[in-house]
């Protein structure tokens, strides 16, 4: 579909068709790092699927494996030290992890693309914006002439609300603000009109006002193009505003997954409860920030039982010895916690 260029664009939250079929599914993904100190299980048995036209959020503390999950999906994890111990990532019927680098080159950027947490660091300091955009456009459309690509780049930059695309195109990353860099990042990720976008904390490094503009751009692409998005975030406000489904990660595993409304209103897993409490509620008079007691476990030496057991307020003897599976806790919500296990009724 064509870009509308300079015209102001509107989005309509109700427009994307939610047909329920998965555009991307991740099955039993395990990404390990072989380090001198041992095997780091950064992603350990993660399965989920992203429906077409959906926005799926992944939340979790720092180090919980969100970025590694994102990079694993595009098979971008450096090997070594990384290694895919098991799993499948299926994009529209293609198993990405079994593809050759060559085949992946045609898929990355074209059908699935990514936005990064540190916008300036994600742009090569040696090249102008124009160089990067032209290179990306021509990588996936060899019939495109350089002049056409330059034009196209200007249109893409205008679509991320740069009033002066030519000037931005001629800029080096260090000449732009963080927010400008991230808008360029969005333009780059949209250059070849992918079906799926992975946004890895796209606003964490930006100030609040700029955050809103970036989120608006994502929302616009979602609404206009039916772009499916995996949105990694720390921010429950972002989650509430954008996402329809949410995955809560901890120590490389999914602890809870479900619809955003359900999970936020009625968190089931003790970790999710603690996490939501850790965020000050703008509506309440109690603005104290709750900290979750204790430290996340060492990924080199994961406990035999539940990885959250040491910090959990509801810990039971079983939690220390036996690793919980994902159990259905409520309609549409899965939780990795013994409280919801098959024998849980005995304890409750």
């Amino acid at each position: 579909m064509g870009r509308t260029g300079a015209e102001p664009q509107r989005w309509d939250a109700t427009s994307p068709a939610r047909s329920g079929d998965a555009v991307l599914s991740v099955e039993r993904l395990r990404t390990y790092f072989d380090t001198p100190a041992g095997v780091v299980k950064a992603v350990d048995d993660v399965s989920f699927s992203l429906n077409r036209g959906d926005i799926l959020a992944i939340v979790g503390e720092s180090g919980s494996g969100k970025s590694v999950t994102a990079q694993s999906i595009m098979k971008l994890v450096a090997m070594p030290p990384g290694r895919y111990a098991s799993g499948q990532v299926v994009l529209d019927g293609i198993d990405l992890l079994s593809q050759s680098e060559r085949a992946l080159g045609a898929i990355r950027g074209k059908r699935i693309s990514m936005i990064f947490q540190n916008p300036r660091a994600a742009l090569n300091p040696a090249f102008t914006v124009s160089t990067l955009m032209v290179e990306t456009l021509r990588r996936h459309d060899s019939s495109l002439s350089r002049a056409e690509a330059v034009k196209r780049a200007a249109a893409l930059l205008r679509a991320v609300d740069f009033p002066d695309p030519e000037r931005v195109a001629a800029s080096y990353p260090h000449q732009m603000s963080g927010g400008m860099c991230q808008r360029v990042g969005v333009a780059l990720s949209m250059a070849c009109e992918p079906e799926v976008l992975i946004a890895d904390e796209p606003t964490t490094a930006l100030d609040v006002l700029v955050q809103a503009t970036i989120l608006l751009l994502l929302k616009r692409a979602h609404a206009e193009r039916g772009l499916s998005i995996i949105l990694i975030t720390h921010d429950f406000g972002v989650l509430r505003a954008l996402a329809t489904r949410v995955i809560v990660m901890y120590a490389g595993q999914i602890q809870e997954q479900g619809r955003v409304d359900d999970v936020l209103a009625n968190p089931q897993h003790p970790y999710t409860k603690a996490l939501i409490q850790a965020v000050p509620d703008p509506d309440s008079t109690d603005q104290r920030l709750h900290q979750i007691e204790g430290q996340p476990p060492d990924l080199l030496n994961l406990p035999a039982g539940c990885s959250f057991a040491d910090r959990c307020a509801f810990v039971m003897p079983k939690c220390r010895s036996e690793r919980p599976e994902l159990y259905e806790a409520a309609a549409g919500t899965d939780v990795r916690c013994h409280l919801f296990g098959p024998e849980a009724s005995a304890h409750q």
């Binding site: 080159g105 990355r108 300091p125 990306t136």
Partner: protein, 314 residues
């Protein structure tokens, strides 16, 4: 750009002045009567008196330095006592030969270390990378004179592929091919340590670059690995690399002194060595000054190249 070059040129002046003063003082650090030392076996009362007059040894040191510097700026570095001709004449001749040797070893260092450094980083922990790390460690731990003698023995004596000494075939001096033939072993010897050092630094810089987010981002846009490494990666190590090469110019000049002595290459190193042996102090002065000037100018050149390559300052 032009402003930077001019600025950099201006900065060279005090450095060269300092160098010239140190070189000048060589004469005065030697114990005893300078005229006697300088003349050594050619000593006669008459000559000594003339030399004292010529050097102005009765004047204060700074006046002497001023006079020496003034003469040096006019191309007069005195007479070589051993060779009985102006030091400058000898220097011009020998510096050219040394530059040929240094230039040749630079032409080895640049492509070899660049290719090995970047290619091994791209193959991190794979066999080629491990080989490179091992090989550069091996090279770096071989002293220049040892390697020179070993190469001389292997490829000059045991398998006589290359001539053992000089720049041209004495009996039948040929053209450029003859020169290259004579150049090979000394150039390899001179280059060895620098190849090792620059390869390792290049590999390190490249590994660092390849771990940057913009490399991951380039891959996420579907760019093929070769383009990511050799365009996105390499572009960012060029300043480091050229800086490194610039520093090596001086280092190569130092290594060349050893190679020149071993392979009897008629350059400034060999001249310096012989002048020291013969206590030809004005010649020693001249050689040291020449080496220092080339070192300083080499660094300046490297700075200018680094500046030209650094986009963040444009």
């Amino acid at each position: 750009m032009l402003r930077f070059i001019i600025w950099r040129l201006i900065h060279v002046v005090p450095v060269l002045l300092g160098v010239s003063f140190v070189v000048f003082s060589i004469l005065y650090l030697i114990p005893g009567d300078i005229a006697t030392t300088l003349l050594s076996m050619f000593y006669t009362e008459e000559r000594a008196a003339m030399l004292r007059e010529q050097l102005g040894l009765d004047r204060p040191m700074f006046v002497q330095y001023g006079r020496w510097l003034w003469a040096a700026l006019h191309g007069d570095l005195g007479q070589s006592l051993m060779m009985r001709m102006p030091v400058m004449t000898v220097l011009l001749d020998k510096t050219g030969n040394s530059l040929i040797l240094t230039g040749a070893s630079l032409l080895i260092v640049i492509p070899v270390s660049f290719l090995m450094g970047t290619a091994s980083a791209a193959r991190f922990r794979k066999p080629f990378d491990r080989f490179t790390v091992f090989f550069s460690l091996l090279l770096a731990s071989m002293p220049v004179f040892w390697l020179g003698i070993a190469l001389l023995y292997l490829f000059g004596v045991r398998i006589p592929l290359f001539p053992m000494s000089g720049m041209y075939n004495m009996a039948n001096p040929g053209g450029i091919l003859d020169l290259l033939h004579h150049l090979f072993l000394p150039a390899v010897t001179t280059a060895a340590t620098s190849v090792a050092i620059v390869t390792r630094v290049t590999r390190g810089a490249m590994l660092d670059t390849l771990s940057q987010p913009y490399i991951l981002a380039a891959r996420s846009r579907g760019l093929p690995g070769s383009r990511v490494i050799y365009r996105h990666g390499v572009r960012n190590i060029l300043p480091t690399f050229s800086n490194m090469i610039g520093l090596q110019i001086g280092y190569l000049f130092g290594s060349a002194i050893f190679s020149e002595i071993i392979f009897n290459w008629p350059g400034i190193g060999l001249q310096l060595y012989q002048s020291i042996l013969h206590r030809d102090l004005t010649m020693v002065q001249g050689c040291v000054l020449a080496v220092a000037i080339i070192f300083v100018l080499g660094n300046m050149l490297a700075d200018i190249i680094v500046y030209a390559l650094d986009t963040t300052r444009k």
